[in-house]
Structure formats: structure tokens, C-alpha cells
């Protein structure tokens, strides 16, 4: 019980990390894109949980809303629109997959080595940062919102323009000629 109390967060991390990895591998290896989409959803949810574990509550929820509720739905719609009659062909991977595998292994080896060399100290020394807005401790959402609308206003506006453009683009692309 003490173990659980002491390392509960760690265990949760490992759990959600495993789920995320499983989902990722599922995306990449599933033959049917439908199944792949579901795996991706799993990954999204796991990642959202990981966000929560790291004090990013607003972001975690946003992750679920946007990714899970928005992007995933979009994907599923398109999958159903496109892939109704055709199941994927015999070959799953393209011609470059050996090379890609090699690269992946190389990457893992190299960066893995570096990662295990680095040692970080304890994190979140000042948890108030995450929760403070306007000098008051209001919550993470408020804090993020405050930061977004004051400090990072310009990127925010640009992002909104970007969304507009993307929307127009998507509409144009999706039109029936």
C-alpha cells in the first residue's frame, strides 16, 4: 500500500505510457485504417492523461476535446468516405521500410544514449506558476488563458488566422468540381 502511495504517480505514468506506445505501434502496424484510427485515439487519450500527470490540466482536456473529439472524428469520417470497398493491398509497407527501420533503430540508439546520460533535478519547484493568473491563484485554465491573451497575443492571433485559412483550404479542397 505504501508502495502504491509513494509511487502511485509513477505507476500511472508507466501505465499510460504503455498505452500510448501500444496505440502508436497500432497506428503504424494496423492494416485497416479504421483500426489504426482507433489505436490513435487510444494514444491521444493516454497522452491526455500524461498531460494531467504533469500539471497541464487545461491542455489535457483540450487534447481530449480537439484531438479525440475533433480530429479523430474527422479522420473516421474520411476513412469511411474513402475506404469503404477497398481493403488495403497485400503489401503493408512500402519499399523504404527497411531503411526506415534502420533509421529508427539508429535514432533510438543514439538519442537513447544521450537521454540516459542526462539527469534532471526535481521538477515543478513552483507549482503556483501553473495556477496563477493576475496575482491570484485561480487555476490552470485561467493561468493559460491569461498567458495566451497577454504575453503570447500575437501568436494567438496568427494562429486564429491560420485556422481561418485552413478552414477555407479544406472547404476548397473538399468541394465537388
Amino acid at each position: 500500500m505504501d508502495f502504491l502511495t509513494a509511487h502511485g504517480a509513477d505507476l500511472l505514468f508507466y501505465l499510460f505510457a504503455a498505452l500510448a506506445l501500444a496505440g502508436a505501434i497500432g497506428v503504424v502496424t494496423m492494416r485497416s485504417p479504421m483500426y489504426g484510427a482507433i489505436s490513435l485515439l487510444l494514444t491521444f487519450l493516454a497522452v491526455a492523461a500524461l498531460f494531467l500527470l504533469r500539471g497541464a490540466e487545461f491542455l489535457g482536456i483540450v487534447q481530449i476535446f480537439v484531438y479525440g473529439g475533433g480530429i479523430m472524428v474527422l479522420f473516421l469520417f474520411v476513412i469511411m468516405l474513402v475506404n469503404l470497398h477497398r481493403l488495403p493491398e497485400i503489401k503493408l509497407f512500402g519499399g523504404t521500410s527497411p531503411l526506415a527501420g534502420v533509421l529508427a533503430v539508429l535514432l533510438l540508439a543514439f538519442f537513447g544514449y544521450f537521454f540516459f546520460q542526462t539527469h534532471f533535478g526535481p521538477g515543478l519547484r513552483q507549482p503556483q506558476n501553473f495556477l496563477t493568473a493576475q496575482g491570484q491563484t485561480l487555476g490552470n485554465s485561467e493561468a493559460v488563458a491569461w498567458g495566451l491573451y497577454t504575453q503570447q497575443l500575437l501568436p494567438f492571433e496568427i494562429a486564429s488566422v491560420f485556422l481561418l485559412i485552413a478552414m477555407i483550404g479544406a472547404v476548397v479542397l473538399g468541394r465537388k468540381q
Binding site: G94, G95, T96, L99, A100, L103, L106, L107, F114
Partner: protein, 688 residues
């Protein structure tokens, strides 16, 4: 007036320019004739005016010449050694007028003018009328340069110029075979002489640093030691120069051994023979020797050599003339012979006598040639005396003038030849050169003889030609007969300027300033007793009359060719020897000509065989081979290199093209790989 001296030679050149270039083929014969005769006539008149002015001038009074330098023609630059203050060698285009050049000027322009007039009639029906007068004017210009020049180089220009015109005019009938050959013979033989002449010029420049008469002669006269030092070939410097210059005279004035061109030169039209080969060009050598008298005075052995050559030539040519059948050939050999007389005089130092004979000879020889031209014209081109005879009926004026000329040359007293020839013989006798005197005397006999042989065969007796020729016989037009009479007057009167008595010898006095008094040497003018002179005159006259008498006896009346035929029967060898000119031409042909041809052929073979064959072809092959190698190199190495590079590039591009698969996946992969590599490098570099 005398400043217009330079105009005199220019005038005939102008005529040649007009007739030869500007108005070529554009004007009629009348205009051509007017231009050609006009310029010479003007030159003659101007010449007389200039001479007259000169005679009254202070220069003449001081026995100095009138000199006129037009411009520095050859500013050749500094000399290696300085001669009497002359530091650089410059030749000016300049003219000189002194008694000698005055006499020459008068003779050349006067006789030349009348010959031009005669030619208008003589050449009236010939093609090439304009060309003829162009050449004739050109000749006059060159001859005037020769006699009026104030330095040896201008003289040489004229010397060569008259040689050229001689070639052009001898070969005038170029469409026939012989005239061009004769022209070449004349020019080449002349050239042999010119070789010596030029050597003489070189020696003069080396010694004096100048070629101007007034810079050379006074220096020699004042300081004869400048030429008495050793020269070359064992001669003194004076001797060397003298003999070199005389070699040129041998060629130009047809002395032994270079006389062979003159008889063949008769192939040219008769006026040419009259002007060039009798009166003017051939006398250039005599003029040159007299002009250079100061040098000859310092080389008495060469003077003697000149005199001997002259005498030998005189008698040699006279013997040949005895046996000639062509009327012009007789006159040609006669000219050679008379030239010999002139050199005999010049060689002995009797310079005045030489020029005197030159002048009188110009008159009567020109007259004789023009007369023969008249005869040939009447005979329709026939020149062989064996086909003539009895022409005095048909050609009265020609006959009379011809006889006057023959008498003059024979030395009949009172006519020009008598005075001049007598002076020459007198010079020989008074100097004690009895051998030379005898030779001269015999030659005089022969001269009288062959001339009157010619007169008889041509004009007396019965006509021996064909009927067509007989019908054709007519006297020549006035354009031809008037000059004959004018020259006849000269042949008669020209002698009176040189009377044998010293104090009446105007000519002699006139020419006195020309003969330099060399310090320490005595000049000509051996005073002999009156008796001596009278005896000489009597002997000369006797000889002349004997000669004429013999000729009349053997050839006169109706005898015709009987004497010649008798001679052939009795002494055929002698006659053949004379008639065939002692076979000298054949000798030259066998030795010199063939030798030169042989050498030329050998050299040609060398050139064609070795130079062309080996060297040129070798060069060609070498070039071919090297270009082949070069080609191979270019094709295989260079191009190969280029192709290799292209192939490598192609291989690389084929390799790299594989990157452009079009697969997004590939692109993503490569992207990732690149990114990974960059990050890895960064991290590795910044490990520390």
C-alpha cells in the same frame, strides 16, 4: 635661267608619263607624236638656253661647274670613318652643268630630237606607235639624268634606266622570236659590266664617304695620295676604282669582251639603233671615264689598259664589218669600232679628243643609221645589201646624206670625222704609242673601206632585189629626210670647233676645266712640232682616200658583189671568220651561257629534289603526322576526358535521381535522416 636645269630631264619623263599612262590608248598618233617630240624639243631648247646662261655665269668664269641640289635623296646616315670632315653619307638628287655635261646635253637633246621626228615617219605604220614613243621618251629622260647628274648614283640611275629602255626598245617587236632574246642579251651583258661599276662605287664611298663629283674630284686633285695607296688585287686604290668603273663601261659601251650585245641589238627599230646604239647610250661609258678623269690620271697603267682595249676593239670590230651583208650590222660593228677609238683617246689621257669624237660620231653615225632606215623602209623591210643596189636613183636625198655621213666617218678632210679622228691618232703618236697609232691607222683604213663598200652595194650598180621590192622603192617622206639633212649639216660642220691648231681649237679650250690638274702630275697636251702634226694629217688623209678608193675599185660601178665572191673563193677561211664574228658568240654560248644554264639546272634539281622533295615533303609529312597525333589526342584523350566526366556525372545523376522517387514516404524518411544527422553532429560537437 640656269636654275631650270632640273626641268630638262623631267620633260621627257613627263612625255613618257603622258604617253605611257595618262593618255594610253586614248589619243591618236598625231597627238602622241606632238607630245613625244615636243618634250624633247623643249628640252633641247631649254638646254641651249641653260648652257648659254651658264656660259655667261660667274661659275663658268671661275672654271667651276653650276650645281643644283634638289633634295637629299638618300640620307643614309653616319659613316664609320670620317673623311675630311664628311661625317654622314648622303646622296642628293642633284644636277651639274659644266662644259662636259653641256656638250653631252647638247648632243643628246639635239640628235635625240631629230631622231624623234624621224621616228614619226618611220614608225607611222607600225603597231605600238604610242608604246614606242613612251619608251623613247623614257630613254631620253634616263640619258639626261645620266649626263646631268652631279653624283655617281644619279648617273647610275640613268645608267640603269637607259639599259632598261634599251632592253624595251630592242625587244620592241616582241611578237617575233629574236628581238626579245636580243633584248635580254643586251640587258644581261650590260649587267655583267654593271657589277664592276657598282664595285667601283662601293670603293668610292668607302674612300670618300661621298659620291658627289665636286666632293671627290677636287679632293683627289689636291691630295692625290688618298688614292695612291694600295687597293685590291695588287692595284692601287685609284687603279682598282678605275678598272671597276671601266668594266661597267665595257658593258655599256660595247668594248671587248662585252660588245656582243650590240650587233644583235639591231633587231630593234632603226631609230632605236640610231639613238641608243650609236649616238647616246653607248657613249655613256666614254662620258663616265672622262668625268672620272682625275682617277684615271692617277692610274696610268689602267689608262693604258683602257686604251689597248679600245684599240683592239676598234680593229677587231672593223674586220668583222668588212664581211657583213646586213647594212645595219655593218653600222653596228662600225659603232663598236668607233667607240674603241674613243676609249683609245680617253685611255691615253686625251679626254678632249675622246669627247670630240663622241660628238662628231653622234652626228654621222645617227645620220648613217637613219639613212639605212630610210633604205630599209623603201625596201619594204629588207636589210640585206646583197638584195639592194642602184638605189641612188630612187632615194636621192637618202643617198646624198648617206654619202656625206660615210665621208665623215671615213675621215675625208673638212668633214667632222676627219678632225676628231685625227686628234685621237695625234694623241697616240705624240705620246709615243706607235703600236696603238698603227692599229688606229689600219682601223681608219678599214673604216673607210667597209663604209664605201656599203655605199656601193646599196646605192650603186644594178638593183639585185625582187620585182615587188623594186616597185615599192620610194624616197622617204620629209619627216624622215629633213632630219637626215640636219644631221648631215652636223656631220659636216661639227668638226670645225676642234681645229687641229691648238689656239683655234675652241672645243679643246671649252673642255679644259673638266680635266683636273692633279698636283704633281702632267696632263695631256703633248706639244709637238708643226711638221709632225702636218705629217700626221697627211698620212690620215691618205689612208682615208686609199680606203675609199679601194672600196670604189672593188665594189663600185656595176661590179656589185663580185669582190665578195672572189674573196670567198680565194680566202674562204678568213671571210668566214670575219662573217661569223670570230665565233665569239658561239664561244660565249659554249662556256658562259651553258655553264650558267647548267648551274641553274643543277640548282633547280637541288631545289626540287632536296628542298622540295625532302624538306618540304618532309615538313608536310611531319605536319600530317603531328596533326594526326593531335587529332587522336583530341579525339580519344580530350574527348575521352570530356566523355568520362559526362559519364561520371550521368552515373551520379542516375544515382541521385533515385532520390526523387515521388514517394512522400521517401521524402519524409530522408528528411528525418537529415535532421537526425544534423542534430547528431551538433550534439557530438558540443559534448563538452
Amino acid at each position: 635661267m640656269r636654275e631650270l636645269l632640273w626641268v630638262i630631264p623631267v620633260l621627257p619623263f613627263l612625255g613618257a608619263l603622258l604617253n605611257g599612262f595618262v593618255l594610253r590608248h586614248r589619243v591618236g598618233k598625231r597627238t602622241v607624236a606632238w607630245i613625244a617630240c615636243g618634250v624633247v624639243g623643249l628640252a633641247a631648247v631649254l638646254g641651249l638656253l641653260v648652257i648659254a646662261d651658264f656660259l655667261g655665269s660667274p661659275e663658268h668664269a671661275a672654271n667651276k661647274p653650276f650645281e643644283q641640289d634638289l633634295y637629299a635623296w638618300v640620307p643614309a646616315g653616319p659613316l664609320a670613318t670620317v673623311h675630311d670632315g664628311v661625317k654622314s653619307f648622303t646622296v642628293d638628287m642633284g644636277f651639274l652643268l659644266d662644259p662636259l655635261s653641256a656638250v653631252m646635253l647638247f648632243v643628246v637633246t639635239f640628235v635625240g630630237f631629230w631622231i624623234h621626228v624621224y621616228s614619226v615617219g618611220y614608225m607611222a605604220h607600225e603597231e605600238g606607235f604610242q608604246r614606242f614613243f613612251t619608251y623613247l621618251n623614257l630613254f631620253m629622260g634616263a640619258m639626261l639624268l645620266l649626263v646631268l647628274g652631279n653624283n655617281y648614283l644619279v648617273m647610275f640611275v640613268g645608267w640603269e634606266g637607259v639599259g632598261l629602255c634599251s632592253y624595251l626598245l630592242i625587244g620592241f617587236y616582241y611578237k617575233e622570236e629574236f628581238p626579245p632574246y636580243a633584248g635580254r642579251k643586251a640587258f644581261i651583258t650590260n649587267r655583267v659590266g654593271d657589277f664592276g661599276f657598282v664595285l667601283g662605287l662601293f670603293a668610292l664611298v668607302a674612300t670618300f664617304g661621298s659620291l658627289k663629283y665636286t666632293e671627290i674630284f677636287p679632293r683627289i686633285a689636291a691630295n692625290p695620295s688618298v688614292l695612291t695607296g694600295p687597293g685590291h688585287f695588287g692595284l692601287t686604290l685609284a687603279g682598282f676604282i678605275a678598272v671597276c668603273l671601266f668594266i661597267g663601261a665595257m658593258g655599256k659601251s660595247a668594248q671587248i669582251p662585252l660588245y656582243v650585245w650590240l650587233p644583235d641589238a639591231m633587231a630593234g627599230p632603226t631609230p632605236v639603233s640610231a639613238l641608243i646604239h650609236a649616238a647616246t647610250m653607248v657613249t655613256a661609258g666614254v662620258y663616265m671615264v672622262v668625268r672620272s678623269n682625275v682617277i684615271y690620271q692617277l692610274a696610268p697603267s689602267i689608262g693604258m689598259f683602257v686604251a689597248v682595249i679600245g684599240a683592239l676593239t676598234a680593229i677587231f670590230a672593223a674586220t668583222i664589218g668588212l664581211a657583213q651583208n646586213d647594212i645595219k650590222k655593218v653600222l653596228a660593228y662600225s659603232t663598236v669600232s668607233q667607240l674603241g677609238y674613243m676609249f683609245l683617246a680617253a685611255g691615253l689621257g686625251a679626254y678632249g679628243a675622246a669627247i670630240f669624237h663622241l660628238m662628231t660620231h653622234a652626228f654621222f653615225k645617227a645620220l648613217l643609221f637613219l639613212g639605212s632606215g630610210s633604205v630599209i623602209h623603201a625596201m619594204g623591210g629588207e636589210q640585206d645589201m646583197r638584195k639592194m643596189g642602184g638605189l641612188k636613183k630612187h632615194l636621192p636625198a637618202t643617198y646624198r646624206t648617206f654619202v656625206i655621213g660615210s665621208m665623215a666617218i671615213a675621215g675625208v678632210p673638212g668633214l667632222a670625222g676627219f678632225f676628231s679622228k685625227d686628234e685621237i691618232l695625234h694623241a697616240a703618236a705624240a705620246g709615243g704609242h706607235w703600236t696603238l697609232y698603227t692599229i688606229g691607222l689600219i682601223t681608219a683604213l678599214l673604216t673607210a673601206f667597209y663604209m664605201f663598200r656599203a655605199v656601193n652595194l646599196t646605192f650603186h650598180g644594178e638593183f639585185r632585189g625582187t620585182h615587188e621590192q623594186e616597185h615599192h622603192l620610194h624616197e622617204s617622206p620629209p619627216s624622215m629626210t629633213v632630219p637626215l639633212w640636219v644631221l648631215a649639216v652636223g656631220a659636216v660642220g661639227a668638226g670645225f670647233v676642234g681645229l687641229p691648231v691648238e689656239k683655234w681649237n675652241v672645243f679643246h679650250h671649252f673642255l679644259q676645266p673638266v680635266v683636273y690638274t692633279v698636283a704633281g702630275h702632267t696632263t695631256e697636251g703633248h706639244e709637238a712640232s708643226i711638221v709632225f702634226n702636218v705629217i700626221l694629217i697627211v698620212v690620215a688623209v691618205a689612208i682615208a682616200l686609199v680606203g675609199i678608193g679601194l672600196a670604189m675599185r672593188l665594189y663600185g660601178g656595176a661590179r656589185g658583189l663580185a669582190a665578195d665572191e672572189a674573196w670567198e673563193r680565194r680566202l674562204p677561211a678568213v671571210r668566214l671568220l670575219f662573217a661569223n664574228k670570230y665565233y665569239v658568240d658561239e664561244l660565249y654560248d659554249a662556256t658562259v651561257i651553258r655553264g650558267t644554264w647548267g648551274l641553274a639546272r643543277a640548282l633547280f634539281r637541288f631545289d626540287a629534289g632536296f628542298i622540295d622533295g625532302v624538306l618540304v615533303h618532309g615538313a608536310r609529312n611531319l605536319t600530317l603526322i603531328s596533326s594526326m597525333i593531335s587529332g587522336f589526342f583530341d579525339k580519344y584523350v580530350v574527348d575521352g576526358l570530356v566523355n568520362l566526366i559526362a559519364t561520371i556525372l550521368d552515373a551520379f545523376s542516375r544515382l541521385f535521381r533515385r532520390l526523387q522517387t515521388g514517394y512522400v514516404g521517401n521524402y519524409a524518411l530522408v528528411l528525418a535522416a537529415g535532421m537526425f544527422a544534423l542534430v547528431a553532429i551538433y550534439m557530438l560537437l558540443n559534448r563538452g
